[in-house]
């Protein structure tokens, strides 16, 4: 467990224990979900208890804790196959406390200290300016799921329309990644090196006068041996923020109701949440040459070469605006990200919503992502392979309509505008009682091709049909 998390928990206990006999609010939710996975034809289950504890200390102080107990299992699970607070078969932190923080309210300033999720952005579900917390790509809903980070957030209000927000983050947390995606990235990286080893070996053998067929076979054998004996992949480790001299920081200026629109401008300086190759590819090739030579001379060396993954330093600026044209809601959100290796990413979301008189609520949204100058993409392109980080263009549609006054039917569609890939998620929410709901839905996802790259669509759930019962108390 991280030091910062322990610190937060200790502080929480200090505050909670003396007031435990006093009044507090305790709300919660118990969810039982069963998924039928079409591809593997298996049933998996998730049981979750989500507690929300809050306590006010007068009008200007309060505390909030959100512990989660989650059990994942499948139809064949033995006791050791049951995982707590992480998706079945996946690795990740045991995130017992989703959030745990104190609020202090001053005359013009609101201060929040502790493990928290800071939500920024005005678009529907996909928020490029929501840059502070890492996404949880292992979650049931990876687009919106975020992980809390130990941080201090201060909102200063110049007046009731204008404010500035500052966030200092005391830890770096990476986005948990599904094993399949990590394996795909590792395979692409390994193949890239293997190709280089093969090509360099083959060229040298030809230069040495070997005939083509033998050179091909020898190069193949040597490549297999070098990749097995001399090559490794070093996984990324979360960046350690040792003190507060170089923390992650974020700033946001917000102006509400300016000519009928709310808008904000934000800046972030910190670390990427997804791993990228950090060592120079040409340097790797230089390191490979003596190793390759040693194999050609049939005197293999035990020198090692590796591809190192890491979380790069990055900065981003963003804009978010929301208002209405006539009575149609409209929004625009942009984020421009620039990392330490001069790799750039632009995210843009534009959309609108409308409610018809029959209560039918609709959202139409376009999402655009552009990667520029990413080293890994350049190298893969050189080799005629698909980019790992492809540009993305999605049409996102959402609709919901109540029926029988107390139930709802909802549908989500994400369509990749550059291919035939899409994800369709129709579901019905039945109200079984005042605090008891039943959700039944299905996810149809033909995004098989997108699994070759690291994209938003590829992160979405596999095809499944699900039944979920939720009880609130």
């Amino acid at each position: 467990m991280k030091k910062t998390t322990v610190l937060v928990m200790v502080l929480v206990m200090i505050f909670v224990l003396p007031v435990s006999a006093q009044e507090y609010d305790l709300d919660g939710e118990i969810t039982q979900k069963l998924n039928y996975l079409s591809d593997s034809e298996t049933v998996e289950g998730v049981t979750e208890l989500n507690l929300e504890f809050s306590k006010d200390f007068g009008l200007d102080k309060s505390i909030y804790l959100n512990p989660i107990f989650k059990l994942n299992y499948d139809e064949n699970s033995k006791i050791d196959a049951i995982s707590i607070n992480q998706k079945l078969g996946e690795e990740g932190d045991y995130d017992f406390l989703k959030e745990a923080y104190f609020d202090y309210y001053f005359e013009n300033t609101d201060l929040r200290v502790g493990k928290q999720i800071v939500d920024w952005g005005s678009a529907y579900e996909l928020n490029p300016t929501n840059v502070i917390n890492p996404r949880d790509f292992n979650a049931e809903e990876p687009i919106t799921a975020q992980l809390g980070v130990a941080s201090i957030k201060a909102d200063y209000y110049f007046d009731y329309k204008t404010s500035i927000t500052g966030v200092v983050v005391g830890e770096h947390r990476a986005s948990p990644m599904p094993k399949a995606v990590k394996n795909m990235i590792d395979t692409k990286a390994s193949n890239m090196i293997a190709d280089s080893v093969y090509n360099i070996t083959y060229e040298q053998l030809i230069n040495n006068g070997m005939n083509k067929e033998l050179a091909q076979q020898t190069a193949k054998n040597n490549t297999e041996q070098i990749m097995g004996n001399n090559f490794s992949i070093n996984d990324a480790e979360e960046r350690e923020i040792k003190d507060l001299s170089d923390p992650e920081i974020a700033l946001k200026f917000t102006r509400r109701n300016f000519k009928g629109y709310d808008f904000s401008i934000n800046y972030f300086k910190g670390y990427e949440d997804i791993p990228l190759i950090t060592n120079d590819y040409n340097q790797i090739k230089d390191e490979l040459k003596p190793i390759i030579k040693s194999y050609i001379k049939s005197a293999p060396t035990d020198e090692k070469v590796s591809i190192d993954f890491g979380y790069k330093e990055t900065q981003s600026i963003g804009f978010s605006g929301r208002g209405s044209l006539s009575d149609i809601g409209v929004w625009l959100e942009i984020d421009y990200n620039h990392n330490e290796d001069d790799e750039k990413k632009l995210d843009l979301v534009v959309g609108g919503d409308y409610t018809f008189e029959n209560n039918f609520y609709t959202v139409v949204q376009i999402f655009h992502r552009n990667y520029k100058d990413y080293e890994i993409n350049k190298l893969l392109e050189e080799k005629g392979e698909n980019k790992l980080l492809s540009n993305e263009n999605y049409l996102i549609l959402h609709g919901e309509i109540p029926f029988k006054s107390i139930h709802n039917f909802k549908i989500d569609l994400i369509k990749d505008l550059g291919s035939d890939n899409y994800m369709l998620n129709p579901f019905a929410e039945f109200s079984l009682g005042n605090n008891l709901n039943l959700n039944i839905g299905t996810i149809v996802n033909n995004g098989e091709d997108s699994n070759k790259e690291f994209s938003t669509l590829s992160m979405l759930s596999a095809e499944k049909t699900y039944v979920e019962v939720t009880w609130n108390f």
Binding site: D27, Y157, G260, G323, V330, Y361, I406, S431
Partner: protein, 261 residues
Amino acid sequence: MKRIKIITALLVISILLIGGLGSSVIAKDMTGEDILEKVDKEMNSETRDFILEMTIINENGQERDRKITIKTKGENKGLVKFLEPGDVKDTALLTVKEDGQENMWLYLPALGNVNKIASHSKNGDFMGTDFTYNDIDMVGASNYEDDYDSELVGEEEIRGDMCYKLSTIPIKESINYSEMKMWVRKDDYMPLKLEFYDEDSKLQKIMKNKNYRDIDSHLTPEEIVMENVQKGTKTILELSDVKYNIKLDDQIFTTRFLTRN
């Protein structure tokens, strides 16, 4: 001196007479507009703060409860916050009218942020009830005179009380009724019953205000029932913890406070 006294007495009598006659003339010649003005005057206050318990009964007879708090200040500021059920608890809607424009912000705890929402949000029903947003405005604070043209069409008895019967036509574009009929109690100008007619002039909904009681010199219905006769659904509102003209700081009606419990 005697003459002066007589003149003074005559003046007083004439003033009283004129006043009295005037009053009886006003009462006799009350127009629909006059009655609506009286209704607004009796129902409105500088601030209101109350809890609304809503029971939604659908066409199958299934009942669901909701509980919200409503705070209003003047005609321009309103705050609605959900208390129950648990899955929507702390969801809050802030409405502020400024420069003739109505601005709304919604706080959804699950999303964690406050977003400005457009006026289309008022097109549908209010939180699954049989009330539209405009209907619920009548519960928060009445503004009949500005929203409707009214004509007095007769007098009828409702639950033992004599009432003015008004036929009103909406002038506000966002109100989707062709006509609203209103029965206003003659004694105190409290509306007891309202009928709402759809765009095809067919009776759509009936609203009944029951059990008026005096709270801080304001008559307040304890129960409001809205029945949609076309759909066969019904919503019952029960008002409690009603407070009028209490001090509600302007800061309460800001996006900053929307996220606070």
